[in-house]
């Protein structure tokens, strides 16, 4: 097995809220290997975005804190770096693409200014060199007439073009890891296909690892090598993409896969559902967090939280009953 590029170990992230402290991420562990695509899938509130923000050290301050665990990136623990140390990594060795390209860009600065800013910050370039470099990058992400676009503002671009600019910014310094948080959720399906293809192609050119956060199992199946499934702040299952789609072990993964309509499902047939809903972070159960929705629940599931068991080298699951169900 290749050495991991990023090793997240027992990450705990907490937020101070009016109603007290909530634990949005509770003991999450996974690794990202050089050059691979790791998918993180889960529903709203499962902690997948908070995990990404923890890695980038971009948690809302002062409410959000990393309360435990380590984030080893190329041998350094990101959780313990000082702010200046982190600033030299962020945007340089780790790039990030956010869901909504309009809010990720500054509306009052030109594309050129925002793109050269990241280059000037991390590289010993003159303004003219940074400008030339920025044009090359815009060209690389498929923006037509980049010289003209450099002088334009975000609102003058379409959603798909804006997301290309955000990707250009994230990749300007050729990072070894790209964290993409729902990069195509706000886009139309034809534009989504363009952006996913672009990320794939650039990943190949730059030999970079991608951590792709999404709720769309179709996107996961098409782009990822390995997948981590999160539920209510915990990892419930992880494995290669084929293991998860072919032999899902956790009842949540199984339920999720069964509930999506595909083009092959007979029209108007009954879709299988996961009954009930995700527990709130304020009143998490003591036992397994999926217990209240699980079709295979036993009384002991509600008493103690299951630990993660290894099925093989890659496949792991947090369920007491994975062997029998």
């Amino acid at each position: 097995m290749k050495e991991a590029l990023l090793e997240v170990d027992s990450l705990v992230t907490e937020f101070d809220t009016d109603e007290g402290r909530v634990r949005a991420v509770d003991g999450v562990s996974f690794s990202v290997r050089p050059g691979e695509t790791l998918g993180i899938v889960g529903e709203s509130g499962c902690g997948k975005s908070v995990t990404a923000l923890s890695i980038m050290r971009l948690l809302p301050q002062p409410a959000g804190q990393i309360a435990g665990g380590s984030l080893l990136f190329e041998g350094r623990d990101l959780a313990r770096l000082t702010i200046p140390e982190m600033e030299s990594i962020r945007g340089n060795q780790i790039g990030m693409v956010f869901q909504e390209p309009m809010t990720a860009l500054n509306p009052v600065h030109t594309i050129g200014r925002q793109l050269t800013e990241v280059l000037l910050l991390h590289k010993p370039l003159s303004t003219a060199e940074a400008m030339a470099e920025a044009i090359t990058i815009l060209n690389q992400v498929g923006i037509p007439s980049p010289e003209v676009r450099m002088g334009e503002y975000p609102h003058q671009l379409s959603g798909g073009m804006r997301q290309r600019v955000v990707i250009a910014m994230a990749l300007a310094c050729k990072p070894s890891l790209l964290i993409a948080d729902e990069p195509t959720t706000a886009l139309d399906v034809t534009i989504q296909a363009q952006i996913l293809e672009l990320i794939r192609q650039l990943q190949h050119e730059l030999a970079m690892a991608v951590m792709l956060i999404t709720h769309d199992l179709g996107v996961i199946a098409e782009t990822c090598d390995r997948v981590v499934v999160m539920y209510a702040g915990k990892v419930v299952e992880a494995g290669t993409v084929k293991q998860l789609f072919d032999e899902p072990k956790h009842p949540y993964t199984k339920g999720l896969l069964a509930s999506i309509p595909t083009l092959d499902t007979p029209p108007k047939s009954r879709l299988s559902v996961i009954e009930g809903m995700v527990p709130g972070l304020m009143d998490l159960p003591t036992g397994c967090r999926f217990a209240n929705r699980c079709p295979h629940v036993k009384s002991y599931c509600e008493e103690d939280s299951p630990t993660t068991e290894r099925i093989d080298e890659e496949h792991r699951v947090a369920c007491y009953r994975w062997e029998e169900i």
Binding site: V189, Q192, A193, A221, D246, T262, L263, K268, L271
Partner: protein, 325 residues
């Protein structure tokens, strides 16, 4: 042709004036919906698919007469409703209802669920207080919410439950046609299937017709009998679900279907990615509006707009290409 369709739309157009200059004169028009025709039979679901800005929501709002269309006709059970004034529309409002995308924004946050569900009954003068309360309880039961929900406020519910409230309101008056405008796109995967099952079972129980507007093709295929694909204000292809998905004719439909990520890691296919963005409906391209992005563009496409023609009894397409039926 069978008996009168429930809804018959002919050459419907909705052009919004773009007011510019010192005098705010409308010199240009946004052709959001342009010469659209279709029928919906009793108990049938017509799925309407298209990317953002293609006019699908505007079309839905014309049919509920939230907009007064610029031209064309809307016949409901044989009666022309496209030009009726507010008072004359009242009886049709009972029969044509709507479910919105965002259940938080479409429910009044200062009213209890009981008030929200009772309001349509009061407006249409149905029953006395006791009878209305009985109906509200019945509605809650139909959509699977506990009766104590009556005295609670929308914010106390999750997204899926709020959408159930929106659905209960839409069926309160026993409508014949419900316009569903992206009813599940704001919901998580595991909740989405619960709502789709509810919509399908309500249709069976009450013989409802749906105009189901969405951008997720797998979802649309699951609930629809027939499907219409919209691009830049026009229907470019329509037919029964199977024909559209298995034998798409229009190059736009073909690439749209090819762009959907398939949740199966063994079926990683090469997408036929269409280049470029959707042009503005204010200044649509001459000829066929898809020609600047079309991989099979021909000379005549650049100046001669195609019209919808039959390729088989159940399948229409608007394209200059020759197709075998």
């Amino acid at each position: 042709m069978s008996a009168t369709p429930l809804l018959r739309v002919r050459d419907l157009s909705m052009h919004f004036p773009v007011r510019e200059g010192v005098l705010l004169r409308a010199s240009r028009f946004n052709r959001a919906v342009d010469n659209v025709s279709f029928d919906i039979q009793p108990g049938e679901t017509l799925g309407l698919v298209g990317e953002s800005g293609c006019g699908k929501s505007t079309l839905g709002r014309c049919i509920t007469r939230l907009y007064r269309p610029t031209s064309g006709s809307i016949e409901f059970e044989g009666n022309e409703i496209s030009k009726l004034g507010q008072r004359d529309l009242l009886p049709y409002r009972r029969d044509i209802q709507m479910i919105f995308q965002d259940p938080m924004e479409s429910l009044n946050s200062r009213h209890t669920v009981g008030d929200i569900l009772e309001e349509p009954l009061i407006i249409h003068n149905i029953g006395d207080r006791a009878a209305r309360k009985k109906r509200v309880l019945e509605l809650l039961d139909i959509v699977g919410l506990p009766s104590r929900s009556m005295s609670r406020y929308p914010f106390e519910f999750s997204g899926g439950q709020r959408q159930r409230i929106g659905i209960a309101r839409s069926i309160a008056l026993n409508p014949k046609l419900v316009i569903c405008d992206e009813p599940v796109s704001a919901l998580d995967v595991s909740i989405q299937s619960q709502i789709l099952n509810l919509l399908v079972s309500l249709q069976r129980e009450f013989n409802l017709s749906y105009l189901f507007i969405a951008h997720d093709l797998a979802v649309v295929k699951h609930v629809s009998d027939r499907i219409a694909i919209m691009y830049l204000g026009k229907i470019v292809e329509s037919g029964d679900g199977h024909d559209i998905y298995r034998h798409p004719k229009h190059p736009y439909t073909t690439s749209l279907i090819s762009s959907i990520p398939i949740p199966d890691p063994h079926r990683r296919v090469d997408h036929q990615i269409i280049r470029g963005d959707v042009p503005s409906p204010i200044n649509p391209p001459a000829g066929c509006s898809f020609h600047p992005r079309c991989p099979r563009v021909m000379d005549q496409c650049r100046h001669k707009p195609p019209s919808l023609r039959e390729v088989s009894e159940t399948h229409d397409v608007s394209c200059h290409l020759e197709f075998e039926s």
